[in-house]
Symmetry: C2
Subunit: 694 residues, 2 copies
């Protein structure tokens, strides 16, 4: 529990100062300005008072119990200070001081040292090299931070890995009148972590929405687990920055090469139900909207406007963001026809026209709220000087308390002249936006969260027919042989053990064995050299395809036997190419499990890098979901006379593959490329398999 951090009963500042332009002064000032509900104990070696408050030479001299300390002394003094804190029984220490892990070298050791001291002393650490926290709960009012934004109570809790980004977002939320509930920027995060804070806020009734800015995820699996749970209760808005930094290391397989910069974080956000943003303003506006209105049932929006242009813009934005603008029900249309001006447009968007007065707005918003095809109401309102705009705001505001659906208002006006109109909306809890785009994007974020939340939480597919021990044994044998890649025949047997289609095959050493194997398998066959060194075999003449008869096999065998002295070979059924070429892959992500890749084969993957990702293990609906993300998805539905692929069987195989890697964490990379997908009722077959283990 992080109560001692976010709801401290008392705060000490070790390194407090009377010099105004220091962090040790600023924290005291912020605590006093915010009206913190507890004692503040400045600690200073000599001063009797800091900013009019009695100061103490060491933490041990402080008279009362101390929940939380700020440590702002220089880094070399931190260990000693922490030991004293331990003796004092301090619960949490915010280490503002920098000079630890972030500087490398000795800093890393210094950080390990303070982590150990704190652990031994039972102190939780926040930071080091960090800002701190805030909590606007009137029972707490804690501004344990040295930043400048004033504490404005709200329902957004904000966690930022970059203190700078956190401050920018916090300041914007202040300006938007959204405010915050709690704030945290924990710098190096040597102990109290981002997932722990998200979990805590998930249980905080005052937090309606969580913002989380990250530059990297040190423990992605934990983040995923926690965020997935919390996002079921309340929206988490995520932002990852550093998208264009030096790319991920190149790796020697197709699958690896497809995992682009940032794919992992974006994928974790997606799997966890975190709504992803790439723009701080959009993020803040969405948080503002969500913090003020109920979560809608779905993404069907009713728009009203009093001028054409802005109504069109909000419609454009909502549709582009995946929302729906349903037709108005007959009943709604009839109601509106009765009350609105003859020139009004009775459709979605409803254009009440500029001369509409308060009664028209009231009737329209009421009708849209009552329409069962509509989940949220978006109002575009340019304030005409000849209309009683305050009256309009009052009528709509009066509807808000009873409304079970979100109401949002885009109020396009001169803010000084129409201040009362704006505040009337805001006081009723209706978020106010300046632009049609802004309001529409914020509502779209809310609505897309609602849709995502309403999807059934399907468990990953389980298979009772897989032979786990077969696969485990093949991997163990590979490792025992100090090989990196599972031999071809063994790899095929691993697929078969998991029910993934593979060509009939046999490993052979001599021409005689090869011919016998081919007879058993049936022509045409493929001949491949079995070699650790020849990874991309087709590049090195280690593969002969479509050998139609004994003669062809014999010729190829002799030729390869000459080039690859002492090698063993695989003889396998030739599958041909009447299927649709796709690829399956998996790649181990340290600390996260396996990322599964599905792509369209051939030119699609080479030219367009057309691939989609998911974390293993997959549910069947998730497998189908990622297939549908491909640009070339229509190919799977059948074009140019080809019959559609059996998506269900394709998804089944992909789920089986995801189980194979999940069950066997020694697999670091797996490529099935190509896999041929076939029509209804025929399971896909993996023609080439490559399994790397460690």
């Amino acid at each position: 529990m992080l109560d001692s951090l976010f709801r401290p009963k008392s705060v000490a500042v070790i390194g407090a100062s009377n010099r105004r332009l220091t962090i040790g002064y600023r924290i005291i000032q912020n605590l006093l300005d915010s009206g913190y509900n507890g004692p503040v104990y400045p600690v200073h070696p000599k001063a009797a008072f800091i900013k009019s408050i009695p100061a103490y030479p060491t933490i041990l001299d402080v008279p009362g119990d101390v929940d939380l300390v700020h440590v702002v002394v220089k880094s070399s003094l931190v260990p000693m200070v922490l030991k004293d804190c331990g003796k004092k029984g301090v619960k949490v220490a915010i280490i503002n001081t920098a000079g630890f892990k972030e500087v490398g070298g000795d800093g890393i050791k210094a950080e390990e040292e303070i982590v150990k001291i704190a652990k031994d002393a039972g102190i939780r650490l926040f930071g080091p090299n960090c800002q701190g926290i805030m909590n606007s709960d009137p029972e707490v009012n804690a501004y344990c931070n040295f930043t400048f934004t004033k504490l404005r109570p709200g329902h957004v809790s904000l966690l930022a890995q970059s203190g700078g980004v956190g401050e920018v977002i916090n300041n914007r939320l202040y300006e938007l009148d959204a405010g915050i509930r709690m704030y945290a920027s924990n710098g190096n995060a040597c102990d109290v972590s981002i997932p722990e804070i998200i979990e805590y806020w998930g249980n905080d009734p005052g937090t309606r929405v969580i913002i989380c800015h990250v530059e990297s995820l040190p423990d992605p699996a934990l983040f995923l687990k926690v965020a997935k749970e919390v996002s079921k209760k309340k929206p988490i808005l995520g932002m990852k920055t550093g998208r264009t930094e030096a790319g991920a290391k190149a790796v020697g397989s197709h699958t690896g090469g497809l995992v682009k910069q940032d794919t992992t974080t974006e994928l974790i956000f997606e799997e966890a139900g975190v709504i992803s943003f790439s723009d701080e303003e959009d993020l803040c506006q969405a948080a503002y909207a969500i913090s003020r209105q109920p979560i809608p049932k779905g993404n069907r929006i009713g728009i009203m406007t009093n001028t054409g242009g802005p109504g069109i813009i909000s419609a454009d934005e909502l549709i582009e963001a995946g929302c729906e603008l349903p037709d108005l029900s007959e009943k709604t249309q009839a109601r509106l026809r009765e009350v609105l001006h003859a020139e009004a447009t009775i459709s979605n968007p409803v254009d009440v026209i500029a001369t509409a007065g308060p009664e028209h707005y009231k009737a329209t918003v009421e009708a849209l709220l009552d329409d069962e095809n509509i989940d949220s109401v978006l109002i575009n309102f340019i304030t005409p000087f000849f209309v009683d705009c305050e009256g309009v705001a009052r009528e709509i505001a009066a509807l808000a308390p009873k409304a079970q659906k979100p109401i949002m208002a885009i109020v396009m006006t001169e803010k000084e002249g129409w201040a009362k109109t704006i505040s009337t909306f805001r006081d009723a809890g209706i978020p106010v936006f300046d632009f049609p785009e802004t309001g529409a994007k914020a509502l779209a974020a809310m609505s897309n969260y609602a849709v995502r939340k309403s999807l059934p939480d399907e468990a990953p597919a389980e298979f009772s027919d897989v032979e786990k021990d077969v696969a485990a044994k093949k991997i163990q044998e590979t490792l025992d042989a100090k090989r990196e890649f599972v031999p071809q025949k063994a790899a095929i047997e691993m697929l078969e053990a998991y029910g993934i289609g593979a060509p009939k095959s046999a490993e052979v050493g001599t021409l005689d064995e090869a011919l016998k194997a081919a007879d058993a398998i049936g022509y045409p066959v493929v001949l491949k050299v079995e070699s650790e060194d020849v990874v991309h075999k087709s590049d090195s003449g280690g593969v002969a395809l479509n050998l139609k008869d004994k003669g062809a096999l014999e010729a190829s065998f002799k030729e390869m036997e000459g080039r690859f002295k002492g090698a063993r070979f695989l003889v396998a059924q030739f599958i041909g190419d009447d299927g649709i070429e796709v690829l399956f892959g998996a790649k181990k992500e340290e600390g996260l499990g396996h990322m599964v890749v599905f792509g369209l084969g051939g030119i699609f993957v080479e030219v367009l890098q057309d691939a989609a990702f998911a974390l293993a293990p997959l549910s069947k609906s998730r497998a189908i979901e990622i297939m549908k993300k491909l640009k070339g998805y229509p190919l799977l539905e059948g074009v140019r006379g080809k019959s559609p692929a059996d998506l269900d069987l394709l998804a089944d195989s992909l789920c089986r593959l995801s189980r194979l890697v999940t069950d066997n964490p020694q697999i670091t990379e797996l490529d099935l490329n190509p896999v041929f997908a076939f029509g209804k009722g025929k399971a896909p077959i993996a023609v080439d398999v490559r399994i790397k283990v460690k």
Copy 2:
């Protein structure tokens, strides 16, 4: 010349009123509040005074000359009023009154009537159904409009088809401290048009940047011509709304089907050098930036920051928008190393770290301005409480007057507490942004304009070897025969006349002729039925490909002859498929000329709709530019062992096609699908051709 509209020496308001909530009162009020530099004449049948100014019963009673009138009387009175205006010698009339073309039916006739009256009387009309104009030039100060945003002088001129959108943008420019130079929203635009206004502003020295919002372009060719000229002098920022409205009509050809909603307007913007926006806020921020700083030489940005996070965000945005962050020169690095803190990061972005003071900012901005690899400087500045932030602003502001490069400041702060810091930047003409994203996007828009402006203006390709009359004759014959499609053989001859590769071919009626033709052409051949009814021939069994010998041709001919009684046939060389399959197309756009389409053939166009567009006639570099836009462009560079296509010859053929359609406006649709592109030195060949004429 629109001087009488935008710089009127006197303004009369016909339909002025003393009732405050009327347009007839509001316009008088706005003229007085703006401090208009000329006489205002209210016209009212009875009142002696309107808002303290002497009023006159009719325009004919006004004592002085009248340049500009507002007409706000009801629509039925407008013709009479305009006739009086003619007698009075009024130059321009802004018809605020609605009820004309926009209501359809009689309104259309009413609009035609007033246009005629005005023309006869030598009056220019602005509107009807419109707001009006503004001009903040201190010599004029005209607020001829009934909207609410106050007139704040600036260098942005703003033209909006939707008055609502215009008002929202104008209000935001006011808030941003950008202000406007001139404003126009001309509603139905029955006379004074958008291109005419853009041309006028192009010649206005006080206008540095033009914003143009459109919902449709009534005269796209004129818009294109004017905008192309003006955008060479100053940036035009365009916004088209209504992107998701009911799609363009489906048309019966591949090419037609590829022309998506909005393609035309976006293409016109692109060809005219108009910078396109889809978000009002982004648009306003870019206009603000451009109106305050010089246009840079290129898109190479130097970033400085005092905290990591925001620096990363602005780098992400700039790179994603196509800008470059060049490495700092050795000299710049040495200069910075000398002055900055040891912990500072000397790269691009430069991180001066939070404790940097005014001297560090000065040195960094100076060094970046001096670096010849850098075109613009973007400053990320979070205001630390322990830094002399006003000093920072003062030092940077002092550099601005001498700087030949844009300087932009993202100032992340609490606006009340740091008001002086912000105003110090602004007073020096340095635009101030709240977010790293915002500043970066605005700078990217400016930089991309600079790059576009610096490109040579290559004239469309001319061909001295084309036989214009051959093509013209074939079209005339087709029209004379009352056919919609040019017959196959004639279409092939049209291509040949323009130097576009086509298979050798002959039109035949009998088997005997077919066999003779095939002998002359050489096997393998293709046999196609020649029929108006069979447009997509391959669907109806009207095409036989790859006929390898006499026997095959004979069999196919007999079979088709039986099915297509009395038809004629085309025997043509079979091209095979060793080339890369692409498609060329052209489609006539009414009032604009022809839109040329280039796409990748086969699955790429079917599944991905991978096509790019340009207006005919094309220059060679434009042809290559659109090829490079394709998702599948790498295919043309050669993948999977195929040799790269000869882009130069491909571009040549596309330019020739663009000449063919430009020279022959009777062509409404043209499809060459597929065209096979070949390697170095071998011209592409159009295998199938379809030319629709009217």
